[in-house]
Structure formats: structure tokens, C-alpha cells
């Protein structure tokens, strides 16, 4: 690929090879006045990841600008790595992936295939669109739970799922996001921290401010003492930043929705949890709860929870029910504090 293309897709291995072949050293990148523009752009990208400031244009015409665009990427990665914050890392990967999806949308089919091959993703051209090996389709859509993305609703033939361009790009975005995330953090040394001292403290400030807005004071009108063990555990695990399987995240979102939390509230409950925020974005919460999809998902039944290994073992109430939602209802009936009516939680 040429410099103009590499500047758009700087996460490709070729892009770092290009930088190496140009002989730009890390030291120069950090200090040379010639790279001041690249450093500024890199900083902007990190700010963008935290939704500060408008999106910066990513298509450059002049070769010098293209080089700055390209070099901005390692600068941004260094900044993200130096902060060592998983939430920021995920936000950054997502932001870059969305940018790539947009740029690929304007680009040729060849560019799409080229990027896919590097991830790697088995994507091929098929008249009028693309096809992708079903294993990659499953892998890169496993966070997308609504019916149009289910495998059974795809045209699957001889191992490949046919996709229209737009859908292929959406899958590619997930793959790019994962690719970027997996490459982070980079090792950072004291020189780097020193060189970016003021930038880093500025970003840290933004990050703290962003996180502060997420802190859910409490979870509103629902009562956590009525949660079944499974949901209580999931909530605790998520808030402790433990790795929760996809099914678990899905279950807790659907559960909170059904006991009466609004989507904004659900998002705020998890907003400061990087793992959660990256995989179950607001977009997905809207999907699970039916706000933006025809299906309103119900949390899985106890038997399903058990077979996924996310039922921590039934307690007394559990033994009488088949569904975690019943637990919440029964517990509400059992001892309703004065002043709280049964209708506070449906």
C-alpha cells in the first residue's frame, strides 16, 4: 500500500514497516520539531477517544500531511500505553476502528480485502458484495446479539456467509477494534513518560472527569437486596472489572431492563467498567432492551444460566423458581419495606 493508504489504516503491519523503513526513530518522534504536527495529531486522537473535541479529518492530500497522519498513530498508542488504563485502551481501539470503517466505506474493494487479510479475516469478494468464512463471522460478531446477525439468518454456503458491503464493513470494524486492543499496551519507559509529561496529565484529567460522570450513585429505584445470587454476582464481578462471559453481560443487562431500569441508567451502572463498556456499548444495550431492535430480550432461564456456568448455585428461593426474574418478584413480596409499592419494579 502507498503512504496515502497507510495513513488511513495505520494499524496495519505494513504501516509500522513503512515507518521503520523511513528511519524515523522513537526518539525523533518524541522530540524533533519536525514531528510536532504528528505529536499534536496523536494527542487529538486520544482526546477523540474520550469524546473531547470534534473528529479530526483523517484524509490528507499532501505527502507531508500523510506522514504526520501515519505517525500520529504510534504517538497515540504510546500515550494510551503510558496511561495504562483499560477503559481508555478500549475506547481508543473502538474510536480508531470506527474511523477505519468510515474510511473503508469510501475506499475500494481491494482496500477492504487488503485490510481484512491482515487481521486476519477470511473475507473474499463475491459478485456485488463479499463473503466471509463462517468461523470469522461468528468470531467477529459474537457481541452482536440481535436476530439479523444470527448465523441462521445468513446465507451460508460451502463455509461462507455472503455479506453486503455495509455489513462486511461492520464486521471488519469489530475485527479492527480487537486487533488494535490486542496490540496494547506497548512497553513504555521513563523517557517517554517524561517527554509527554504535560500531555499525559492533561489526558489523565479528562479520563478522570469522564469516569466521574459514570459513577452511578446508586442503581435508582431497584433494590439490590432482591437480586438473585446470579445477578448479584454478575454485577459485583463487572464492577470489580473481572472478566465476565458474554452470556453473563447479556443476562445482567436484560435483567436490569426487566426490573425497570432505563437504558441510560443501565449504561451508567456499567459506564465506568471498561470491559463492559467496550463490549456492550450503549448501542448493544439498546438492542438487548428492544429500544432499537424489534426484539426485547428476556434474561435467560435458570437452566440456561446453569448450562453457561453463571448460576452460582441456587439458594432457598431459587429452588422454587425457573427464572431469575421470579426471584426478584418473590423477594419483593416476601418483605416489602413500608412505603415501597410492588409496582416500583415490574
Amino acid at each position: 500500500m502507498e503512504l496515502s493508504a497507510l495513513a488511513k489504516y495505520p494499524f496495519l503491519r505494513e504501516a509500522s514497516a513503512f515507518i521503520r523503513s523511513e528511519g524515523v526513530t522513537l526518539e525523533e518522534l518524541l522530540s524533533e520539531p519536525a514531528y510536532a504536527r504528528a505529536r499534536a495529531l496523536g494527542r487529538t486522537r486520544v482526546h477523540e477517544a474520550l469524546e473531547k473535541g470534534p473528529e479530526s479529518p483523517r484524509v490528507a492530500i499532501a505527502p507531508a500531511d500523510q506522514l504526520s497522519q501515519l505517525l500520529a498513530y504510534p504517538v497515540a498508542r504510546i500515550l494510551v500505553s503510558a496511561l495504562g488504563d483499560t477503559y481508555l485502551t478500549r475506547r481508543f481501539a473502538l474510536r480508531e476502528a470506527i474511523a477505519a470503517e468510515g474510511l473503508l466505506g469510501q475506499d475500494s474493494d481491494e482496500a477492504i480485502l487488503h485490510v481484512a487479510a491482515e487481521l486476519p479475516m477470511d473475507l473474499r469478494r463475491e459478485d456485488g458484495g463479499f463473503r466471509i468464512h463462517f468461523s470469522d463471522f461468528l468470531r467477529f460478531t459474537n457481541t452482536m446479539r440481535d436476530a439479523p446477525w444470527k448465523l441462521i439468518n445468513q446465507p451460508l454456503e460451502r463455509g461462507y456467509v455472503t455479506l453486503r458491503r455495509q455489513k462486511a464493513l461492520r464486521v471488519l470494524r469489530n475485527a479492527v477494534q480487537r486487533h488494535i486492543e490486542q496490540g496494547l499496551p506497548l512497553p513504555v519507559n521513563d523517557d517517554i513518560v517524561a517527554a509527554f509529561k504535560s500531555d499525559l496529565s492533561e489526558i489523565r484529567g479528562l479520563l478522570e472527569a469522564k469516569k466521574a460522570t459514570f459513577k452511578a450513585e446508586d442503581i435508582g429505584k431497584v433494590s439490590i437486596t432482591r437480586f438473585p445470587p446470579c445477578m448479584y454476582n454478575l454485577l459485583a464481578q463487572i464492577q470489580n472489572h473481572e472478566n465476565v462471559p458474554h452470556m453473563g453481560r447479556f443476562a445482567i443487562v436484560a435483567f436490569l431492563h426487566h426490573i425497570g431500569l432505563g437504558n441510560e441508567e443501565i449504561f451508567r451502572v456499567f459506564g465506568d467498567v471498561p470491559d463492559f463498556a467496550a463490549d456492550v456499548t450503549k448501542y448493544q444495550i439498546d438492542h438487548i432492551t428492544g429500544a432499537s431492535s424489534p426484539t426485547e430480550y428476556t434474561p435467560p432461564e435458570c437452566s440456561t444460566m446453569k448450562s453457561y456456568g453463571i448460576c452460582p448455585g441456587p439458594d432457598r428461593i431459587c429452588l422454587t423458581i425457573k427464572h431469575p426474574l421470579s426471584y426478584y418478584r418473590i423477594k419483593g413480596r416476601e418483605r416489602r419495606p413500608r412505603g415501597e409499592s410492588a409496582s416500583t419494579a415490574t
Binding site: K150, L156, G159, Y160, P245
Partner: protein, 433 residues
């Protein structure tokens, strides 16, 4: 020693003799059989059951074929399994310490889940399952999923079912959600009618500043990939079947499905077969349907016929367990004590099934068409020697090509039949005086 002798005295001597007989035959089998090793043999966990019910030994790993063979010969298990998953340390006691590396896809179809299993004979059940497994192999795994026959293994379980192991490396790393998507695909779960029929605009009117677009549903063709084609082939097949029946028979057939009322059935029947136009030729709903015009059916009839087609799909999730997919244990998903849980282990080809004495046989796709378990899975090691057995009931069956009609009580039968009957609990061996 004295207490043990006392214990033996209480035990049933016929039962003791039967177990001793089976154990010595199994021992003989393992002594002269080379075990079939799965690929990545050293990365699998093995599990075994023995002659005392309830005793399970798991978390075993072997690094050499001889080690496995020695184990089989010296311990003589009734059942032998290995994990569909690969681990860093297959013999570690917990999932966490094992270190999950990936897993084959394993499909397991068992006659226990056939709706009419209770009223079927053993060969009938096995035949019904064989048809299903072939359908799964041909029409799903090969044609839709594109698996190479070289990366699939068909296995007769030695009992009441068949398995397919898929060891294509592209599926190794798939997690449990992804695997469930594959099961859903195979069992027809989550199919959206909207993804089968596409809406297409056919008329557009501008009226007082509003645009009204009329749409119609376009049916797929039977050659379409995935479920679109399957549904269309099913719809056409079902319609053809109904056409061949008298109206009464057709209605009866339709109402035999659960939840289909007489009214639903007659509606659908009328929709399909009542003439709509007589000139220039008689046109009925079914004729339109064959031209791909699904809107010739009412919405209710359309949804009904699709539902029926889905139900007729032979690889269904009957009783939620007709098709189960093993190997979905993810790293760290469970570390609870799994001593009695062998669900995630699959039967080892070339081992013996303790409840039949039949061999777990690996089959090629070509071989399964003519495969008859009671003829082809009876180990060659079993001889014709006469064994005296005591039958609980009368037995009529065919095994190794011989037909037997046996009265209850004491009979002398060939060893291969004695083993089958004893293992199934239909006969006991008469202890030698």
C-alpha cells in the same frame, strides 16, 4: 478378609458371574486391539467408568499409545471417553489449571431423544438416528458449513447414537456463544421469516406530497443458500405431499402437528388448492407458490407452512436435546467438581460400550449407508463359543446375521450374543457349578 467373604455371600452370584464374564471378555478385547488415537492425543483429557456403577475416573492424560493401552488392559473400563477440548495440562484437576487451548466441534445424536423411541425396536431407533446423522453430515456440515470430509469423523457410539467430530482447526478456538450459534443453525432456532422472504417494492405512488410504496414478499428459490433454500425446498415438498393426499387425509396430516387447529388446516389447504382463476387455465395457490409467489398465501397460512417445514427438518432439537453440541467448555467457565459429569467427554472410538459390548466404530461417509450396528459393530474378538445364560424374557433378535428366537430361562447361546444380552441387562450368565 472374613468380612469381604461375608459380603460376597450376600451378593447375587449370577450377577457376580455376569460381571466377571463381561470383564474378562473386555479384557481380552483390549489386549488384542490397538486403540484409535484422536489427533492431538496428548492434549486430551481421558475419563473412564468401571464395573461398579458411579465410579468415574477423570483428569487423566496420556502421552504415549502404550500408556493408554496398558491402562485399558489393566483397568478394563466399561466406558472410555476423551475430551473434545485440548488442554495445556489435560490431567490437572480443575479447568483453570488445565488451560483450555481449543476444542473440536462434536455433534451427538442419540435415540433417547427420539419422540417415539419408546415404541421402537433397537434396530429401528438406530436406523432413525442414522438417517438424521447423514442429513446433518450432508446437508448442514458439508454443504452449508463447508467442512471437508477429511476433517470430519463419523462415529457409531456403540449404544444408541452416532456422533460427528469436526476437527477443522478454524473451529478450535470458537467460544461457547459461537458454538451455540452453530447448534441454533442446525436445529433451526431463531430463524426469522423476514430473512427468508425479502420485501421488494413493486409499486410507487406520489400522492399529495406523500410517497406510498407497495411492497410484496419475494420468496427465495430452492437453490438459495442456507435456510432460505431449505425452507423453500421444504415448502414445495410439503405442498407436494399434501397434493397427493385426499382433502380429508391432508387435513388430518396437518392437524397431527401440535397446536394446529382444524380451521388453520383447512385454511391452508384452501389457500393452496382452491382454484383462484379458471381462465385461461386453472390456477391454484400451489401453482403460484411454485412460481415463487409466496403472497398467494394468507399471512397466517404462510407462517403455518413455514412452521411445519421447520418442524419437519430432521435435525431438530427434540426435547431440547436431540442435537447437543459438546466441547463448549471455555477456559475458566467452570471449575466446579465435575467428577460425575462426563457430558463434556466423548466416547473413544475403538473402545467398547459397556451397556452393549459393541465397539465404538469410526465410519467413512460411504460406509455409514450400509452400516448396521448389530452386524458391523460386534467385535471380531467375540467368538461363537456356547455360553449358558439365563434370560428374563423371550428374545427375538438378529445379530451378526443370525436370527435368534429364545425362550425365557436357561439357553446356550454364542458368546457374541451372550455379551450383548448380558451387557444390556437382558440376561445373566449362569455361574459354573
Amino acid at each position: 478378609m472374613a468380612s469381604m467373604a461375608a459380603g460376597m455371600a450376600v451378593a447375587d452370584p449370577a450377577k457376580e458371574a455376569t460381571t466377571r464374564f463381561l470383564r474378562s471378555q473386555f479384557h481380552r478385547y483390549y489386549e488384542c486391539t490397538k486403540p484409535t488415537l484422536p489427533d492431538r492425543f496428548g492434549r486430551r483429557e481421558f475419563g473412564f467408568m468401571f464395573w461398579t456403577p458411579g465410579i468415574v475416573q477423570r483428569h487423566l492424560g496420556f502421552s504415549k499409545e502404550e500408556e493408554l493401552k496398558d491402562f485399558l488392559v489393566s483397568r478394563v473400563p466399561t466406558h472410555a471417553y476423551y475430551s473434545s477440548a485440548y488442554y495445556d495440562h489435560p490431567n490437572a484437576p480443575t479447568m483453570e489449571e488445565k488451560g483450555w487451548l481449543g476444542a473440536d466441534l462434536v455433534f451427538d445424536l442419540d435415540a433417547d431423544h427420539l419422540p417415539k423411541a419408546a415404541s421402537m425396536s433397537y434396530p429401528e431407533m438406530l436406523e432413525a438416528i442414522r438417517l438424521k446423522i447423514v442429513h446433518l453430515y450432508d446437508d448442514f456440515l458439508q454443504s452449508d458449513f463447508g467442512f471437508d470430509p477429511k476433517s470430519m469423523r463419523l462415529v457409531f457410539s456403540g449404544g444408541r447414537g452416532y456422533h460427528i467430530h469436526v476437527f477443522d482447526e478454524r473451529v478450535w478456538s470458537l467460544g461457547s456463544h459461537e458454538r451455540r450459534e452453530i447448534v441454533d443453525y442446525v436445529t433451526g432456532k431463531g430463524l426469522e421469516v423476514g430473512s427468508v422472504f425479502r420485501e421488494s417494492a413493486f409499486d410507487r405512488k406520489d400522492f399529495q406530497g406523500h410517497t406510498r410504496v407497495k411492497t410484496r414478499l419475494v420468496a427465495p428459490t430452492s437453490e438459495d443458500p442456507g435456510w432460505r433454500g431449505k425452507i423453500m425446498r421444504g415448502v414445495n415438498g410439503l405442498a407436494a405431499k399434501l397434493e397427493g393426499l385426499s382433502p380429508n387425509e391432508a387435513i388430518k396430516f396437518l392437524t397431527s402437528f401440535e397446536g394446529v387447529t382444524d380451521a388453520d388446516a383447512s385454511n391452508l389447504y384452501e389457500n393452496l388448492f382452491k382454484p383462484r382463476a379458471t381462465k385461461p387455465r386453472i390456477i391454484r395457490g400451489i401453482d403460484r407458490l411454485r412460481e415463487g409467489q409466496i403472497e398467494s398465501l394468507s399471512d397466517r397460512s404462510r407462517d403455518l407452512i413455514i412452521r411445519l417445514v421447520k418442524e419437519l427438518q430432521p435435525v431438530r432439537d427434540e426435547a431440547q436435546a436431540g442435537v447437543s453440541l459438546e466441547g463448549i467448555v471455555q477456559r475458566g467457565e467452570t471449575d466446579e467438581p465435575v467428577t460425575s459429569d462426563i457430558k463434556r467427554l466423548i466416547r473413544m472410538p475403538s473402545s467398547l460400550h459397556g451397556k452393549t459390548g459393541l465397539q465404538v466404530v469410526t465410519l467413512s461417509r460411504g460406509a455409514i449407508d450400509d452400516f448396521r450396528p448389530l452386524r458391523d459393530a460386534v467385535p471380531k474378538t467375540w467368538t461363537e463359543d456356547r455360553i449358558r445364560v439365563n434370560l428374563k424374557n423371550k428374545i427375538t433378535m438378529e445379530i451378526r446375521g443370525e436370527v435368534f428366537n429364545l425362550a425365557p430361562g436357561v439357553n446356550d447361546v454364542p458368546q457374541y450374543l451372550a455379551i450383548f444380552l448380558a451387557a444390556r441387562g437382558l440376561a445373566t450368565v449362569v455361574p459354573e457349578a
